[in-house]
Every structure is written in C-alpha cells, then in structure tokens.
C-alpha cells in the first residue's frame, strides 16, 4: 500500500473544504464544507494509523472515532444556530448576518422597542430621545 495516495486525497479534500467555507453564502453549505475538512482529517488519522507504529496500537483509528463524535456534536449545535438564524432573519446567508448589535438601551426600552430599534438602526436620530418618543406613542394608542 502506498500511503501517499490517501494522504493526497486528504490534502485535496481539505483544500476543497477551505474553499467551500470561504466561497459559499448559504450557512448549510458552509457546514457541509466543514464536514469535508473533518473527513480529510479523519482520512489522515486512519492512514497514519497504518503507516506509523505507535506504542498503543490503533491510536489513529480511535482518534478518528473521537473526531466523528465531535463532528456529530458540532453539526447538531451548528444546525440549531442556523435554524435560529433562519427564524430571526428569514435568510441563512452568512454575509448578511449583522455583526454589530443594535444599541442595548433601545432594545430594553419596553413596548416601543421595536420601532425605536428600527429607527436607531437607520441612524436618523439619537437613540436616547427616540426610545422615549416611541414609548409614549405606544402608550397613547
């Protein structure tokens, strides 16, 4: 068995995974590319188990099993995050996720928080006075 063949497969799969993570916009496709990278690492571990003679036999295969378990946990939590993102934004495009939080006091401003948040997000007025105005509006209705 020539170990260079599975090693080359693993190297190309890892490169494809990196490319997919950076290229894709859909969060589910990003998770699929992450799976490609994890599988490349698994292939390296299993191949190294056949080529290297360690003190403990089959250490590479045991590590591959551990990585599979980690990948299962990762995909569970990742999909929970993706579905929550879809519920909040109706979109799973990763480059449309806002990285900056809206101003915190506006968010906690009571019943008028929704309109005040939107207004503060546009940035027309100062958020502090705006929250109070929208709050009074809701009460007068």
């Amino acid at each position: 068995m020539r170990p260079v063949i599975p090693y080359l497969t693993a190297a190309f799969l890892f490169g494809l995974g990196v490319y997919g993570v950076l290229r894709r916009r859909n969060a589910v496709l990003v998770l699929m590319a992450v799976e490609l990278m994890l599988n490349a690492v698994n292939l390296v571990l299993v191949t190294a188990d056949t080529t290297a003679r360690a003190v403990l036999p089959h250490g590479g295969q045991v590590f591959a099993l551990f990585v599979i378990v980690l990948a299962a946990a990762e995909i569970g939590v990742g999909l929970a995050i993706v579905l929550q993102l879809y519920r909040m934004r109706a979109s799973v495009a990763v480059d449309e996720v806002p990285l900056a939080e809206p101003p915190a006091p506006v968010l906690a401003a009571g019943p008028g928080a929704r309109a005040a948040t939107a207004h503060g997000g546009v940035g027309v007025d100062g958020p502090g006075t705006d929250a109070g105005a929208a709050d009074r509006t809701e009460e007068s209705r």
């Binding site: 068995m1 020539r2 170990p3 260079v4 063949i5 599975p6 497969t9 190297a11 190309f12 890892f14 490169g15 494809l16 990196v18 490319y19 997919g20 290229r23 916009r25 859909n26 589910v28 496709l29 699929m32 590319a33 799976e35 490609l36 599988n39 698994n42 299993v46 056949t50 403990l56 036999p57 089959h58 250490g59 295969q61 045991v62 099993l65 551990f66 599979i68 378990v69 990948a71 946990a73 995909i75 569970g76 999909l79 929970a80 879809y86 519920r87 909040m88 934004r89 968010l107 906690a108 009571g110 019943p111 008028g112 929704r114 948040t117 207004h119 546009v122 105005a133 009074r136 007068s140």
Partner: protein
C-alpha cells in the same frame, strides 16, 4: 501498484470529485447527495486501509445521521428546489486560500512519503478497537460523553427562544419585523410621539 493501491486511487478520485461537486453545485439538495457519495467513498477508503470499525461508524453516523440532518436543515430553511444563483460569493480569495491550503498540504505530504510502501497492519476490528478505547483511551471517551451531553443541552437552549430571555425585553430581540421595518410606520410613530 497492488490491488489496494488501485482501489485507493479509484475511491480517492471518487471522493475528490464528489467533494468538488459539493462545493461547486448550484442545487442545495444535490450538494447533500454529493456529500453522501464523498463520505461513502471515504468509508471505502477506510475499509481498504483495514479500519473496519471506523468505516462502519462512518456509514452509520455520517451518511446515516449527519447528512440526513443537513438535508433536514436544507428543507427547513425553505431552500428552492431548482438551481439558485445566489449561493456563492465572488470567489478569488476563496480559490486562492483553498487551493493554497490543498496544494501546500499535498506538496508537504508527497515530499514526506514519496512513493514509499508499507505493509497493511492487522485489521482494526471492533474487538481490537474496543480494547484500546476501554483501556488506554477510556478517559477521553468519558469526556466525550460529557461533551455530547453539553451539545445536546446547548442545542435545546438555542432552539427554544423562551429560555434565557431577559425578563424586561418583551419583544424578544430583533425579529423579522425589526430587520425590515416599514418606513412609513416608523415616521408616523415619531410624528405622533412628537404631538403627544
């Protein structure tokens, strides 16, 4: 070139080709199905490399569970059935970094192993791997069970919006209405607020 080499080459070509299709296709569901082909070819690789138990665990967990979960996520996020054009970002940096990582690793590994030859060891059956897992690696094994429990709890907390909300934030954070407000409504609210 022995039979194992030919098998490894063929399965590796299938895996890399299916991987290319996973990251290049424009159909969301087909990406998941190509992922099945890629992971199945890798399971065949593991079989040739005498890792029996890892191969069957790969088929069970990856092909059986992870891909099904991914397809569920594709369906739950209302993916379009046909081809969609907005799946990709402009990809020169991605191609540069991904190709650099792949080719760099390939050059490194080819330089390390050349065309050397090793004999395949005894097969990694469930008996041998079980001995190792429950003797030498039993502490990481138990830690992994705790990690699985933590991931379970974390996924439940994430997917239930009524857990962990602050009591004063009644609107529950930025939702769809807050993301895309109607401009007329906001202006009207501010006007009325000024009058009141």
């Amino acid at each position: 070139m022995t039979g194992a080499d030919v098998l490894l080459l063929a399965l590796g070509a299938v895996a890399v080709g299916a991987g290319v299709l996973v990251v290049a296709t424009k159909h969301l569901v087909r990406a998941g199905l190509y992922l099945v082909v890629c992971l199945g070819a890798l399971a065949g690789d593991y079989l040739v490399l005498t890792a029996e138990l890892v191969a069957w665990v790969q088929v069970l967990i990856y092909v059986g569970a992870v891909v099904v979960l991914l397809l569920f996520a594709v369906m739950l996020t209302r993916a379009p059935i046909g081809a969609s054009d907005d799946l990709d970002r402009p990809g020169w940096p991605a191609a540069l970094i991904g190709g650099g990582a792949g080719l760099g690793l390939a050059v490194l590994l080819v330089d390390a192993f050349r065309w050397s030859r090793v004999e395949l060891p005894a097969a990694g059956t469930a008996e041998r791997l079980g001995e190792q897992v429950f003797r030498a690696w039993v502490l990481p094994f138990e830690v992994l069970s705790v990690l699985l429990l933590a991931a379970l709890v974390g996924a439940i907390v994430l997917s239930r919006p009524d857990i962990g909300r602050r009591p004063d934030a009644t609107s529950g954070g930025p939702d769809r209405n807050a993301a895309t407000p109607a401009p007329g409504a906001v202006a009207g609210a501010v006007d009325e607020g000024g009058r009141g």
